[in-house]
């Protein structure tokens, strides 16, 4: 091929690929887009695209922060442009993708990443290259305790979530006269499950509850029947599972197979909040409780939920859940900080993130607000407890934001 033909080819290619406007702000997003977590990743992609569209677009004004559209005002109306990368749920692939996004796609920040194991490697890379990592949905408490300077997390972590669960136990016990005396820990064997169970073990001890079973199981096992039998033998007042979707489905079925109906299940969200779990488990999911950072039914307290929900449903044909709502909020908070930075440079974005002080009413979350401590953790992300009723989660605690009463130990 002659040089001129190569040049012509390059020229045609440049016509075919839309050039980014000079002032576009490029943000990377790393998720499992293939593999066992693929559906979560694809839903996350849709959530970020909806939020970017809200920030950039010409929708009717949505009553929340960055909801007026028209891009980033302080940067001359610059648009948010997202670049997605596939971690396959593998920490090493996540690390490589983070490096690629930074060095080749020139992103100014990265959002991610569903599994805590991938967040651990991504946030090491972002710290080394000095760009912000915004953790939208990773819930391991250890992530912000590693002295990283560029790590920010809008979501509550499992320590805060578990504290909420034990707060719920105390309140519901006082209200119904059926207190929790024993718990069974049931958790998968990666960073999410082990971190979550460590916190729960500590909190159970502090609350004077018996840990009747402490079961660390192998993720994606073909069979969880023996594990279900151990849970049955322990028969604790409350089972506290920390599981992704596949194992959540397996364990509720395995318990049903041996005719074991636990008095109460209070899940560390994750798989239990996925629509695949709710439809797959069907009647077996009824009555299961789960912590959540999102209260989709709290539309009176958070007026932005309805219009955002409509946009998401139109795109992905399902409702917002615990994960997708947190992803939308993470990008919203990040975009606000980029706007306030005035330059779009990573160092200025970091300064703006540190100064973040957003009220809960300006988001779709039931939180008090968003304000980061020195480790980058949002200290105002207050979780809720939800329960499956007729196939969907409804909020039952804290009692002041609850939309219905919990069915407790029936």
């Amino acid at each position: 091929m002659s040089v001129s033909r190569i040049a012509l080819g390059a020229f045609l290619l440049s016509l075919a690929t839309p050039a980014f406007a000079a002032d576009d702000i490029i943000i990377g997003a790393i998720y499992p887009l293939t593999g066992n977590g693929a559906q979560v990743g694809l839903d996350a992609k849709a959530a970020y695209e909806v939020e970017a569209d809200i920030i950039n677009g010409t929708h009717p004004k949505i009553p929340m922060l960055m909801g007026e559209g028209g891009g980033l005002k302080n940067l001359g109306g610059a648009h948010i442009k997202l670049v997605f990368a596939d971690s396959q749920g593998d920490p090493q692939k996540a690390r490589a993708e983070a490096e690629r996004l930074i060095t080749q796609e020139h992103v100014v920040a990265i959002v991610g990443s569903y599994t805590s194991a991938t967040a651990a490697t991504i946030s090491q890379v972002t710290d080394r290259y000095e760009i912000p990592y915004m953790s939208a949905d990773n819930s391991s408490p250890s992530l912000n305790q590693r002295g990283l300077k560029w790590f920010f997390r809008t979501s509550p972590h499992d320590e805060m979530f578990s504290a909420a669960m034990f707060g719920f136990f105390k309140d519901i016990g006082a209200k119904t006269g059926k207190p929790v005396k024993s718990v069974a820990l049931f958790y998968e064997d990666s960073i999410f499950g082990t971190d979550s169970s460590n916190v729960q073990r500590k909190l159970a001890g502090a609350a004077g509850l018996t840990v009747a079973a402490d079961i660390k199981y192998r993720a994606n096992s073909p069979s969880l029947s023996s594990e279900a039998q151990r849970l049955k033998a322990a028969d604790a007042d409350v089972i506290l599972p920390s599981s992704y979707t596949s194992d959540a489905l397996s364990i509720v079925r395995s318990m049903n197979e041996i005719a074991y109906k636990p008095k109460a299940i209070v899940a560390q969200a994750a798989g239990f909040q996925e629509s695949g779990f709710l439809t797959g488990a069907g009647p077996l999911a009824e009555g299961i409780l789960s912590r959540s950072s999102f209260a989709g039914d709290a539309i009176k307290a958070r007026p932005a939920i309805v219009p955002v929900q409509e946009l998401f449903k139109a795109k992905q044909n399902k409702s917002l859940n615990d994960n997708t709502s947190r992803e939308i909020t993470a990008l919203q908070i990040l975009a606000d900080a980029i706007n306030r930075s005035g330059t779009g440079k990573p160092a200025d974005i970091r300064t703006a993130l540190i100064a973040t002080d957003v009220k809960g009413i300006d988001t779709i979350m039931p939180w008090v607000g968003v304000k980061f401590d020195e480790t980058g953790q949002n200290i105002e992300g207050t979780p809720v407890i939800q329960q499956v009723k007729d196939g969907t989660y409804v909020t039952v605690w804290p009692f002041d934001v609850a939309t219905t009463d919990a069915v407790w130990m029936k």
Partner: protein, 291 residues
């Protein structure tokens, strides 16, 4: 630890072990016949599960009624894989081993990708089948009906496979396995035997897939959960031995269930691999291997 708990665990192990055995039977058959390890075996299981799901939603038929349809479908898939890919890979004259590994490995990735493309990554389940989520109690032991049905079907499938091996076709299969060059001289069409062997192997895993779909989630990755165990089962039972696959499947099911009961469940595969390593050291051809 009560007697009931132990009995219940033994039962769960047996029921799961028979499923492992049936998944492994197809793999063993193909390997025994032509020394090709099918790395796409788990994906064939997944294809069968999705086929069950789609036909169930489309025709409204119970998975049990779909059993023959999916088995025939998978038989066709197996034959097609042999004719289109494996026959060509076998005729390669350089790096034969590598080509055979990569052709089925690549096929596995392709099938998984295609499943995700067409069905998405969502976990699906069949909740309205006759047996779904049903359990009967017998003297304090609970027997989940979908697993019980799967075990019965598994034993029937093994009986059928053994019966086939006693027929003239079965003897042709055996002869081809023993000496694939010589059979041509006595008028056996080697290619046809291999194609049917692949068809039978795929149909066996297809039957396992239908029965699994009754009580297990369906997703593009689901095959991987069972594939590793299938390879261990085949190696433990002895390559090419059907009876070996049956015994090894049950052994692995029981070892897994019992180790999850007494050890930390996250270590439950340790017992299974320990047995595998022991067999590898002291009896490399497997418990019932004839090679």
């Amino acid at each position: 630890m009560t007697a009931e708990l132990i009995l219940q665990t033994l039962l769960s192990g047996l029921l799961m072990g028979l499923i492992y055995a049936l998944v492994a039977a197809g793999l063993s058959l193909i390997f025994g016949l032509m020394d090709v390890v099918n790395f796409a075996h788990g994906e064939l299981l997944m294809v069968a599960m999705f086929a069950t799901l789609v036909l169930h939603n489309l025709l409204g038929l119970d998975p049990l009624l779909l059993l023959p349809i999916v088995a025939v479908l998978l038989f066709g898939v197996g034959m097609a894989i042999y004719r289109l890919l494996i026959a060509r890979a076998l005729s390669v004259t350089f790096n034969t081993g590598m080509v055979q590994i990569f052709v089925t490995f690549g096929l596995a990735i392709f099938i998984r990708g295609a499943a995700q493309f067409f069905f998405g990554g969502e976990f699906r389940s069949i909740n309205n089948s006759w047996l779904a989520n049903k359990t009967v109690a017998l003297a304090g032991i609970y027997i989940p009906l979908p697993q019980l049905a799967a075990s019965v079907v598994c034993l029937l499938a093994f009986a059928l496979l053994l019966a086939i091996s006693k027929t003239e076709f079965g003897r042709a299969l055996e002869a081809t396995r023993e000496d694939r060059e010589a059979v041509g001289l006595i008028g056996i069409d080697r290619d046809r035997i291999f194609a049917i062997g692949w068809g039978m192997g795929a149909a066996a895993v297809g039957v396992a897939g239908v029965m699994l779909a009754n009580f297990y989630y369906i997703s593009p990755q689901v095959g991987a959960n069972f594939a590793l165990i299938a390879y261990v089962t085949v190696a433990l039972g002895g390559f090419g031995s059907l009876g070996g696959a049956l015994i090894a499947g049950i052994v692995i099911g029981e070892v897994e269930a019992l180790s999850a009961l007494v050890l930390e469940p996250s270590l439950k595969q340790v017992g299974m691999f320990a047995i595998y390593l022991a067999v590898l050291m002291f009896r490399p051809r497997g418990l019932f291997g004839r090679l």
